[in-house]
């Protein structure tokens, strides 16, 4: 892909801004609360900007899905999630803020005991691995400049390490605001130009449904329908993955960091509006890419890089730079937040609360900085094992959610006596069952696709095992306790 020097200048300028913010925000840090939660002073606009940009990290994965499956992407990456966001906003957000804690494992200890915190921290650490996002950034830079994947991964990691170590959560949220603006404007800009260049819905429906123009190897005739060619089970499993939100450390962290206990609920509701508008743009960008390919107007290297191809073909100099920066910003904002969350799991949940209870604020901040390097190191190793971003989300999501959802929801909503042993065992049972199911499916794969027992996706048995174990152990153990 050829990129003009102006566009490269815009991308470089963006990285310079990140450096500058990282350098200057250090002045705002005077305590552990400042470093971990920006002093719990997030106002509504910052709350929305940081939540929207952090949450939306897998833009290339969304491109891959919209290109391959069509409008159903909006159902599985949008619609289901909005429902869970609304639940979170109305039933959890303000409670989380009022609890005045730092992390999800803090909540687990509040509901159960130290062992639950320990296990929760491990699963949290896996769930917030920035690996899919670091891989995305590697793919983007590799595609744009032809630089080797590992070199780009290291370069990007270095920038992120710099401003997260220096600025802590303050650095993360202020860079998020810039990234939020870039990603919204960049993604919105492509739609009117695609309509102007290729045509409106008439073009999409004729290009996608005309069998004579079927240049790609897959069926696109159902790309504009609600469910596409996907099975109900496939769609529903993504609905379950949306429950991720209820155990998402990024959501919790932003709720803890809000200025008062009304901002989280309002902020999530405003964010849902942004996600709705944004998801429609991203889904249709992917659909335009596949329709233009079918019509022989665009060459796409792979579904994963379809956004880059369509942007390169459509956007003029300057706007292309803006779009690419928006794309990079989308991924960076999630990668940096997740890196910081992983580091907090190491320093706050494990170091301070399990291994060295008398650690000073200074020691905890130092441990967080080491944690940032460990989290990124782990992510780089993980990203070498997977070549599909969607696969990585799927497996991390399946195992993490199977472990965390039941103990968290029971903790918040069950008013009766709760057994700490039930929480620990349910986390082990849920994640263990899902993992065994995944490994079994992988070992019995047919034609490169995992074959699951009875065609059942791993998250169902994982959640079921977690729920049953919690329920049974809770009954038995609570009786014994009393």
């Amino acid at each position: 892909m050829e990129i003009s020097s102006i566009d490269i200048g815009i991308i470089v300028g963006y990285f310079v801004i990140l450096f500058v913010i990282g350098y200057f925000v250090k002045r705002r840090i005077h305590s552990l609360d400042d470093y971990f939660l920006a002093g719990r002073r997030l106002t509504l606009p910052i709350f929305v900007a940081t939540l929207v940009s952090t949450w939306y990290g897998g833009l290339l994965g969304v491109g891959e899905m919209s290109y391959s499956y069509g409008f159903v992407n909006w159902i599985v990456s949008g619609f289901f999630w909005y429902l869970v966001y609304l639940f979170f906003a109305f039933f959890l957000a303000n409670r989380i803020r009022r609890s005045n804690l730092y992390t999800i494992p803090d909540q687990l200890e509040r509901f159960y005991d130290k062992k639950s915190r320990f296990l929760g921290a491990i699963f949290n650490f896996i769930m917030v691995s920035p690996a899919p996002y670091i891989l995305s950034l590697g793919v983007i830079f590799n595609f744009l400049f032809g630089v080797e994947l590992w070199i780009t991964i290291l370069m990007v990691s270095f920038v992120m390490i710099f401003y997260t170590i220096r600025g802590g959560f303050v650095g993360v949220v202020y860079t998020d605001v810039i990234q939020f603006i870039l990603m919204m404007v960049g993604v919105a800009a492509i739609i009117p130009i695609a309509v102007y260049t290729y045509g409106g819905f008439d073009f999409l429906s004729s290009a996608l449904s005309n069998p004579e123009l079927a240049l790609t190897y897959f069926d696109t005739t159902k790309h504009l329908t609600l469910t596409g060619t996907q099975t109900t089970q496939w769609i529903l499993i993504w609905g379950f993955i949306a429950f991720w939100t209820l155990a998402d450390p990024g959501f919790y962290q932003r709720c803890y960091a809000a200025k008062d206990d009304k901002i989280p609920k309002k902020g999530i509701l405003v964010s849902v509006g942004f996600w709705l508008l944004f998801d429609i743009c991203t889904t249709f960008t992917g659909i335009y890419a596949v329709a233009a390919t079918q019509a022989g107007l665009l060459e796409v290297e792979s579904a994963l890089t379809s956004y880059l191809s369509i942007a390169g073909a459509l956007l003029p100099v300057g706007l292309l730079g803006l779009f690419l920066t928006g794309l990079i910003a989308t991924v960076m904002s999630t990668a940096d937040s997740f890196t910081f969350l992983g580091a907090m799991n190491i320093s706050h949940d494990l170091y301070k609360n399990i291994f060295k209870k008398d650690a000073t604020e200074k020691q905890v901040i130092r441990a967080t900085k080491v944690g940032i390097v460990i989290t990124i190191g782990f992510a780089i190793v993980l990203s070498l094992f997977f070549d599909s971003i969607v696969d990585m989300w799927y497996y991390i999501g399946t195992i993490g959610i199977s472990a965390m959802i039941v103990p968290i929801l029971v903790g918040f909503f069950y008013k009766g006596k709760k057994s700490p042993l039930a929480a620990t065992l349910s986390m082990i049972a849920g994640s263990g069952t899902a993992l065994i199911w995944v490994i079994h499916g992988y070992l019995n794969s047919v034609g490169g696709w995992p074959f699951y027992i009875g065609g059942v996706e791993p998250m169902y048995p994982g959640l079921l095992a977690s729920l049953i174990v919690f329920w049974v152990v809770n009954i038995v153990h609570v009786r014994r306790m009393s």
Binding site: V177, A188, I191, V195
Partner: protein, 36 residues
């Protein structure tokens, strides 16, 4: 009405909403600076 119109409206609404949010962000930031 043609669905294309709604698609463009969506993109325009996204840019407008982002501009409004950015305005309030800077307003808060300046207020915070002023109060120091």
């Amino acid at each position: 009405m043609d669905l294309t119109f709604f698609l463009i409206l969506d993109a325009v609404a996204l840019i407008v909403a982002t501009t409004v949010l950015t305005y309030f962000f800077f307003k808060d930031l300046l207020k915070e600076k002023g109060s120091k």
